[in-house]
Symmetry: C2
Subunit: 212 residues, 2 copies
DNA sequence: CCTACCGATCGGTAGG
DNA sequence: CCTACCGATCGGTAGG
């Protein structure tokens, strides 16, 4: 029913031009979707960027929405791994330590999968694909909020701010890095991860000076 | 050349239907632009939402892009006021205090003008109007980064994270609240402003427990 | 001559 | 992978 599937294990002999495969088209599509926005990007734009005609793209891809779905699945799969692996209860590991680990690993995912995560964070729910992605995102948010609540309950986080609010602000800060982080820029991902965890957990005031 | 302008000071006698004025149409447009995205919102959608025909909208408004420009100007004017007023150097007011004031007043602007600020934060630069808005936004970002640098230089903020990075993360956290804040929701704007300043400046770890 | 619209349709372009 | 198209809808405007 569709030409999409796992990449052929052995590079088969091909007829015609070498051309693009689906992952290559997806990468370019994600880049354009981020640059101009999903709706403002036409399949013609994508064809021009690739040096193909519009119909040629449909040889590799069934729809524009499929490209979006593929991108969102990438981001969601990665974030789901982080949250399930790092937030799961383990003997001798406090909620506080697990939260710090989730923050650090989230930063790594945002850096390594920035284009698809950026798309995920901009989803508005305008189609079935987007609504499904929003549902998975909500599941992640709930797990993160529960982890923050655990850390508050165990006494390691401030309890004068509602945990749900803490969770939103903490991951709001984490997620904001997709707006400006550039892999070839001034900051290594480790520098960013350190800065975020330092600011989030210990604040940005010098401790001698944080009384107003 | 256009019927747009300041509202008539005295409500003159009208013939025909009472109808909408430009500010009312703008409010509805902003709401739709946020719900579905600017590009995904057609003037037909806006007309349907208002109970008008499409041509009727063009009686009040010259173009779809003008509506976007109006919204972005609202957000930018408000944020510019905050940054110029609260970040300006004054005798006896430290950069640290001014930064806290900017954060607090920014939260108030985000809450009071959430719809237009949300649009501003999603601009991609797809048109002249959007490019001009991005330029003004960059000006704001530069002023904020300078204020953070001043606070670091005066010794009140941690100096082990680059000031430019601190600025991005701090206002990334502030800006993230447009993604979830609801004026009729659980949190008063003062609660949110307190939570953000507390977390940002003093961190979310309890001070007895913030050593890992 | 005005404000406040309507029914119909313009030239182009969208995804497919 | 192209030329040649489709059904529909886009933002915007005509006359009345």
């Amino acid at each position: 029913m569709t030409t999409i599937g796992p990449a052929e294990p052995a590079p088969r002999r091909r007829r015609g031009r070498p051309g693009y495969d689906q992952p290559a088209i997806l990468r370019t599509a994600i880049e354009l979707f981020n640059r101009r926005g999903y709706d403002a990007t036409s399949m013609g734009d994508l064809a021009r960027e690739l040096g193909l005609t519009k119909p040629a793209i449909y040889h590799h891809v069934t729809s524009k929405e499929q490209l979006l779905g593929e991108a969102l699945a990438d981001a969601l799969d990665e974030l789901t791994s982080v949250v399930t692996e790092a937030s799961g209860e383990r003997d001798g590991v406090s909620a506080y330590q697990r939260l710090r680990e989730v923050v650090r690993r989230s930063v790594e995912v945002l850096v390594a999968h920035q284009p698809s995560v950026t798309l995920l964070l901009r989803v508005r729910g305008n189609s079935e694909v987007e609504l499904a992605a929003l549902e998975r995102r909500r599941w992640l948010d709930d797990r993160l909020a529960a982890l923050v609540a655990d850390a508050v309950a165990e006494g390691s986080l401030r309890d004068n701010v509602p945990p749900a609010l803490v969770s939103r602000l903490l991951f709001g800060m984490v997620n904001s890095l997709v707006e400006w982080y550039r892999p070839d820029g001034a900051y290594d991902h480790a520098v960013v991860a350190d800065a975020i965890t330092a600011i989030a957990f210990d604040g940005l005031a010098r401790h001698e000076a944080h009384q107003v």
